[in-house]
């Protein structure tokens, strides 16, 4: 039984009753707070300018835009709106990992799609359940949305509404004025919607449902790369984060997607609809696809995070894990006195300090003093400092777009050194001023720094080598480049700087991608005799990572 909603009902009792009914739709207990009014915040959960409702995952509350609901004349649909939001929370998408996997699949089937259709997809699933008992309420929301937007709907939205008409046996959702133009533009579109309803909801697997959904909806998206749409109760699906997408890139849900595609091929859905059936062989291509349509203010950071995770996996394939874990040092160094508060560890109270500072009040205002472990002595450091000079000229690809073997080699060396408690400084160069990092002892920081890319000419920074060699005479230095490095040696004072660098280093290794080493031996003749210099010739780019691993094992003991 639904609750009667008088025109002015915005009272807490009405909202609470709707909330109870909405929970009953899903017959499930959820840890969500009762709905609160939208106050203009929560933009992280909402892409568009004015949300109707969404779940704030920070406060775990459903937020409802009551004035908008009233403006749409759908205040009596509050229960259905709340049930819709709960549906996204408890059932569709089942996990954010699934949402990410479907978006990856979507970009594979419809490359260049500007706005994801997954929101429509999950709404269709949620509304089928909610609409079993509350189709009239949901219909009121859609009608109110259309009236608010001057009654016009895009072909995509018309088709979407036709699906609900077929599902709920209604005929009051698609604007009457658009039925004939739709038939003219998309012959038998109603038959299409009917078949969709009668097939889509009977499919046994969500991946198969999604491929079927894409195959049918693509017809109503004339230009995928320009698609932009708004729907009521859209944009309210929790967004997958970088870890979710990383899982999808790694292949989570990949087998289900492949199975679904195989069945879709057998049923003729792919060919008939015009979907693209081309698998990305390189995970970096997948990353590029899924990040290139993100808002520009978050795109770079999101891409960097995913690319970094991808390279970490590659590094982990090569770098041996250390068998033992060094226990953390004992905290022995006292810090300053601070107020002890209820809830703090009583063992942290420094009674002597408290009495000295507070006298008789020490018992009521005790002070605590934390202990910290001592900084490790430089003498305990097992590895010298490591400097890596990485060539990122245009002869190698941008590591964010395609696998850059030299970048990977640099990351392997840096990870090997850091895992042996070494410190790493990286110099990423092309032409012009090189990028120089601080001394880094975090693998993640080093890995991200080494993803920098210039893509210009090649100009090895010999003056910098000379300066750093002077500053840190005991460091190990690795130069990762190709035959361009040999050309660079012809620059004025280049060989002098290299010789000085060799003499001032514990070891200087030139790791060069070369077809043969004859020319290298000739050009590097002045330093080849030094016991502090090593030339490592890598015959092919695909051998760079293995060579870096062998090198790390040989000279860093990793």
């Amino acid at each position: 039984m639904s609750i009667a909603a008088p025109e002015t009902t915005r009272g807490a009792a009405y909202v609470a009753a709707c909330w109870r009914e909405a929970l009953a739709v899903w017959d499930i207990q959820v840890r969500l707070g009762p709905p609160t009014a939208y106050d203009g915040g929560g933009s992280s959960h909402w892409d568009e300018d004015e949300p109707l409702a969404f779940i704030d995952l920070e406060t775990r509350q459903v937020v409802v835009n009551f004035p908008l609901l009233e403006k749409m004349g759908a205040m009596s649909s509050l229960t259905a709106v709340l049930a819709h939001e709960i549906g996204h929370h408890v059932r569709f998408p089942h996990t954010l990992g699934l949402a990410a996997a479907l978006q990856v699949l979507e970009q594979r089937l419809i490359p260049g799609l500007r706005q994801s259709l997954t929101n429509l997809f999950f709404d269709l699933l949620v509304n089928e359940v909610v609409g079993r008992t509350r189709d009239a309420e949901l219909s009121a929301v859609y009608r109110g949305f259309l009236e608010k937007g001057k009654g016009e709907a895009s072909p995509l939205f018309c088709y979407y509404l036709a699906i609900y008409e077929e599902l709920w046996t209604r005929d009051d959702l698609v604007p009457a004025a658009q039925r004939e133009p739709m038939e003219a533009a998309y012959p038998s579109w109603r038959g299409d919607a009917r078949m969709f309803v009668q097939t889509f909801y009977a499919l046994p697997d969500i991946h198969l449902q999604f491929v079927y959904f894409c195959a049918h909806f693509l017809r109503y998206v004339p230009e995928p790369d320009k698609l932009s749409y708004r729907i009521p109760m859209g944009g309210d699906v929790p967004k997958p984060d970088e870890d979710d997408f990383d899982g999808a890139v790694r292949g989570n849900g990949g087998q289900q997607a492949e199975d679904a595609l195989e069945e879709a091929r057998a049923r003729g859905w792919i060919k008939e609809s015009g979907l693209v059936d081309r698998k990305d062989e390189d995970p970096l291509t997948t990353i590029d696809r899924i990040t290139s349509r993100r808002p520009s203010n978050t795109q770079a950071a999101f891409r960097e995070a995913l690319v970094s995770k991808h390279y970490k996996r590659l590094v982990d394939e090569y770098v041996l894990k250390l068998a033992g874990v060094t226990p953390p040092l004992e905290p022995l160094i006292p810090t300053v006195l601070e107020e002890w508060e209820w809830g703090d560890n009583p063992h942290g109270i420094d009674w002597t300090g408290s009495v000295l500072a507070g006298g008789p009040l020490a018992a009521v205002r005790p002070l605590r003093r934390d202990m910290l472990p001592d900084e490790p002595s430089p003498r305990e450091q097992t590895l010298p400092e490591v400097e890596i000079y990485l060539d990122t000229s245009g002869s190698m690809p941008n590591p964010s777009s395609a696998l850059n073997a030299m970048t990977l080699a640099a990351q392997i060396l840096s990870a090997s050194a850091i895992r042996k408690k070494g410190k790493v400084r990286a110099v990423v160069y092309s032409s012009g001023r090189p990028l120089v990092s601080e001394w880094m002892s975090s693998e993640e920081v080093a890995r991200r720094f080494l993803l920098n890319y210039a893509g210009g000419g090649t100009e090895y920074p010999f003056p910098l080598l000379r300066r750093f060699a002077e500053e840190r005479p005991d460091a190990m230095r690795f130069i990762i480049s190709d035959s361009d490095f040999l050309w660079n040696l012809q620059m004025a004072e280049a060989m002098d700087a290299l010789q000085y660098g060799v003499s001032q280093s514990r070891l200087l290794v030139a790791m060069l991608a070369l077809a043969d080493d004859a020319q290298a031996r000739q050009k590097l003749q002045p330093v080849l005799g030094s016991r502090k210099f090593r030339l490592v010739v890598v015959r092919g780019l695909d051998q760079f990572a293995r060579a870096a691993t062998d090198l790390a094992e040989a000279v860093l003991g990793a």
């Binding site: 419809i110 490359p111 260049g112 077929e166 046996t169 998309y186 012959p187 038998s188 579109w189 109603r190 038959g191 299409d192 009917r194 078949m195 309803v197 009668q198 097939t199 909801y201 009977a202 046994p204 693509l218 017809r219 004339p222 230009e223 995928p224 790369d225 060919k271 008939e272 609809s273 015009g274 979907l275 693209v276 081309r278 390189d282 291509t285 590029d288 696809r289 290139s292 245009g394 690809p397 941008n398 777009s401 395609a402 696998l403 073997a405 780019l541």
Partner: protein, 187 residues
């Protein structure tokens, strides 16, 4: 006589089909239903003619599903109550199998819409009504569910889509190529 469609479907969902019914068993179940209504079922010769008259493979699947639903749900009891003495059993069966001709056993088993259509067409065949619905509502729903009609409409949509798909595939390929070009040089 009113058939509680919701209850019948719940009962069917609670007793999933483990294996297909053999032809003889299916015929026996359907014949028993008519006998319970004090009607003479088709004899062996008539059944043979019936099964030979249409797409035999699908009709056997439909016959098996009908027997299953009559066995595990209250459909049989309601059917017995609904069947009138004046019904021409052979003609009724011919009409029923013709109306559900495109439905496979898998569709009836796994697709809620197809199962509803199958049941509604059986109810209409035996002269029953769906509980809680006016006859016009039942008729409208039946038209909406008619798979043959949906298929015909969909075929039209498919033909139109094929032309559109060629155009779109070209556009998607161009978009993919543009993307690849934008990514630049690769190994």
């Amino acid at each position: 006589m009113s058939f509680d469609l919701g209850r019948i479907r719940d009962e069917a969902a609670a007793a999933p089909l483990a294996s297909p019914y053999p032809q003889e068993l299916s015929i026996a179940v359907v014949n028993d239903t008519f006998r319970l209504a004090r009607l003479v079922p088709p004899d062996g010769k008539q059944w043979k003619g019936l099964l030979a008259s249409a797409k035999q493979t699908l009709m056997l699947e439909q016959l098996g599903m009908l027997a299953h639903l009559l066995t595990v749900t209250s459909l049989r009891d309601e059917t017995v109550k609904a069947l009138g003495a004046d019904i021409d059993v052979k003609r009724a069966l011919e009409g029923f199998f013709a109306s559900v001709a495109p439905l496979t056993a898998e569709m009836i088993r796994a697709n809620a819409f197809r199962q509803e259509e199958f049941l509604r067409k059986w109810i209409a065949t035996v002269g029953g009504q769906v509980a809680g619905e006016a006859p016009e509502e039942s008729q409208k729903r039946l038209e909406q569910l008619d798979y043959r009609k949906t298929l015909a409409e969909y075929d039209r949509a498919e033909k139109a889509r094929q032309g559109e798909a060629t155009r779109r595939a070209k556009m998607l390929k161009e978009a993919a190529d543009r993307e690849a070009a934008a990514r630049g040089w690769r190994e």
